[in-house]
């Protein structure tokens, strides 16, 4: 048996899915968090049934891609759990009535049941049930309230196959609302006042700038302190063990080079030695993980609060000049964590052109947290002059490239039309779960690549391939970017992992200008292989080739200009 979870965007379908199946999925407070079908299993009366989390849709008239998916799913589903936002009953009922016109059993879930009281809404769930003639179950998905009831009433789901015209639907909804819902006077809460303030430009822009500054500061604060007080001390404890191993293996043997790496002035240097057990562990755990943790902690709060759609509204006018919707800010922000989810989330944009621009800009300009952590280590000592130049350069490239793409590519950006959810206080449980999911995917997906990267560097050095490529690439690397030709090794590793690549710049003894050029070039010239694969899936071969050509040209150009200026 297949059970479909269907409803408008941002009504909590994924939260209910998590509760039913025990499978953790991303839950956030903005429409379009779920971009693809998610499947899970649940036990129902000793039977294993399949639960499918369908991306949100407002109607069953297939006008957009998400809606087409939803309509197609109806053909394979056996029961629909229609998740309804109780705080917006009227407009949610439109989809409910449409679902009741299909020949499939339906059960209605009134989610956000805890919120209606503060909003001065009273809903008579029993009466609603009588009107719709299907079970209606109030729930609070984030706290699991009502979930057991939902499961126990699943067998009562009923099919009706009513037939309404669009007009009849709205008049039926009007009738139902008049009878089951009462609105009473409500006081405006602090959060509601803040909702208005954060979209009005005069207050919204300062609020946004403060939030961005706070985010930047929090990420560095958490990251630096985790490194100084937790991870560095841990690696101090680990050092004697790996030093012992180094002594046993003896410097100079191939196995020593691969596992421990090169000794710097007779000692192991976790950043520069380039062994699997030294740099291969130190970079991901002690240099990157702390910042990844800090970034995702802060991002989770931003996502769950409902701030992102407001940010999207504020920047909408600017992003339209770059050929995108305000919502394209979401792939950019997710890309700051990791470019892979960033590329996937371009699906919230409705046209191919927008997705192409957003994915290209994100892949070229947005450094992932792994890379940013290493840039913090590299340019941090130069303070605002180093880090500021790096970030401001990328921001200018982002604006210029977007503006250019919007001019050159045929087609227009459709007008923005989106829902802004209310501000909600994030639940600690959901934040922690989401943070853990992201950390876990970093640990399982990034670390193998880091180790592979370190291994490949060693093999390439041993075989002398790096020397050969660096001779060949010298005209570009030395001539255009003003970097030593040894920097080529870092560019090669950058295909696999940007963090290891940035780390490899350290032993080259570059000055600040060269470090900035190298960091910018490493960010821009090519996405890492994981992102490349996802881009291939999302854009297709042709667009990926275009996108890659744009990357290479802009990396050459921007690196060259920076080299001339710095």
């Amino acid at each position: 048996m297949k059970i479909l979870l269907m409803g408008n965007p941002n009504v909590g379908k994924s939260a209910i899915f998590s509760r039913l199946t025990g499978v953790n999925v991303m839950v956030s407070n903005y429409p379009g968090t779920t971009i693809e079908l998610k499947k899970g299993k649940m036990k129902l009366d000793d039977r294993l049934v399949e639960i499918i989390d369908v991306p949100g849709t407002y109607t069953l008239e297939p006008t957009s891609k998400a809606e087409e998916v939803a309509v197609r799913m109806l053909e394979v589903g056996d029961v629909v759990v229609n998740v309804v936002d109780a705080t917006n009953l009227e407009r949610n009922l439109y989809l409910t009535l449409q679902l009741l016109e299909q020949d499939i059993p339906v059960i209605v879930v009134l989610n956000f049941w805890d919120e209606i009281r503060h909003l001065g809404i009273q809903i008579d769930a029993k009466k609603l049930e009588a009107h719709l003639n299907v079970p209606v179950v109030p729930t609070v998905a984030v706290t699991a309230e009502g979930i057991k009831k939902l499961v126990s009433r699943l067998p009562e789901a009923r099919a009706h196959a009513n037939k309404y015209s669009e007009e009849a639907r709205w008049s039926e909804i009007g009738k139902i609302i008049r009878e089951v819902q009462k609105l009473t006077f409500k006081k405006h809460t602090f959060l509601e006042k803040l909702e208005d303030l954060s979209v009005k430009p005069l207050t919204g822009i300062p609020i946004t700038l403060s939030i961005l500054a706070l985010v930047f500061w929090l990420v560095r604060f958490f990251g630096e302190n985790l490194i100084a007080y937790l991870f560095d001390p841990l690696f101090e404890l680990y050092l004697p063990a790996v030093t012992g191993l180094s002594n046993v293996l003896g410097e100079g043997s191939i196995i020593h080079d691969v596992l421990v790496g090169t000794l710097i002035e007779g000692k192991i240097d976790f950043v520069q030695s380039m062994g699997l057990l030294t740099t291969g562990l130190y970079v991901p755990f002690a240099m990157v993980l702390p910042y990844v943790f800090a970034f995702y902690l802060v991002l989770g709060v931003l996502e769950d609060s409902g701030y992102l759609p407001r940010l999207a509204t504020l920047v909408d006018a600017v992003l339209h000049k770059l050929g995108m919707h305000g919502l394209a800010i979401i792939p950019m922000l997710l890309g700051l964590g990791c470019n892979v989810p960033g590329a996937l989330s371009t699906r919230i944009l409705e046209t191919k052109r927008q997705r192409f621009i957003a994915a290209t800009l994100m892949a070229i300009v947005v450094p992932c947290m792994a890379q940013t952590s290493m840039v913090f280590a590299l340019l941090g000592p130069y303070g605002i002059k180093g880090l500021g130049t790096y970030f401001v350069t990328l921001f200018i490239v982002w604006l210029a490239l977007g503006f250019l793409l919007n001019k050159v590519l045929k087609g227009e950006t459709p007008e923005t039309f989106m829902e802004i959810p209310p501000y909600r206080i994030p639940y600690f449980g959901s934040l922690a779960k989401k943070l853990w999911m992201r950390i876990r995917s970093f640990l399982t997906e990034a670390i193998p690549f880091v180790l592979l990267g370190v291994l490949i560097v060693n093999i390439l050095y041993v075989l002398g391939i790096i020397d050969w490529i660096s001779e060949a690439a010298a005209p570009v690397i030395v001539g255009i970017w003003g970097l030593p030709k040894e920097a080529v090794a870092s560019l090669i590793v950058g295909f696999l992992r940007k963090d290891v690549a940035v780390g490899m710049l350290l032993p080259l003894g570059l000055d600040m200008g060269q470090l900035i050029v190298a960091s910018v070039v490493l960010t821009m010239y090519f996405p890492c292989v994981a992102t490349f694969v996802v881009l291939f899936k999302e854009l297709g071969a042709m667009d990926l080739i275009k996108s890659t050509a744009i990357m290479i040209v802009s990396a050459l150009l921007v690196g060259g200009i920076l080299n001339a200026l710095l």
Binding site: Y58, E61, R91, I121, E415
Partner: protein, 79 residues
């Protein structure tokens, strides 16, 4: 006196009286319950030809400038 949502004053409440475009437009707006006869409040308009933000019952929505020009409203007296 009818004005477009775009021209409606910030903070003002109004009733939607008609839409200056056809079927698809009407359906699109209806997905967020923005329909003729509904009361809305204009929260703000973003600068640089940016979108208009409105509140309708418990929903807030961002509406592109050109769409806002096609939504005709009847302003309500200030409370």
């Amino acid at each position: 006196m009818e004005v477009s949502l775009f021209d409606l004053q910030t903070g003002q409440k109004a009733i939607i009286s008609r839409l200056k475009e056809g079927e698809m437009f009407r359906k699109k707006l209806a997905s967020l319950n923005i329909r003729v006869g509904k009361t809305i409040r204009k929260i703000t308009a973003e600068p640089l030809r940016g979108p208009v933000v409105i509140e309708i019952e418990n929903t807030e929505a961002t509406i592109g400038m050109n769409m806002a020009k096609k939504i005709v409203v009847e302003p309500l007296e200030a409370e």
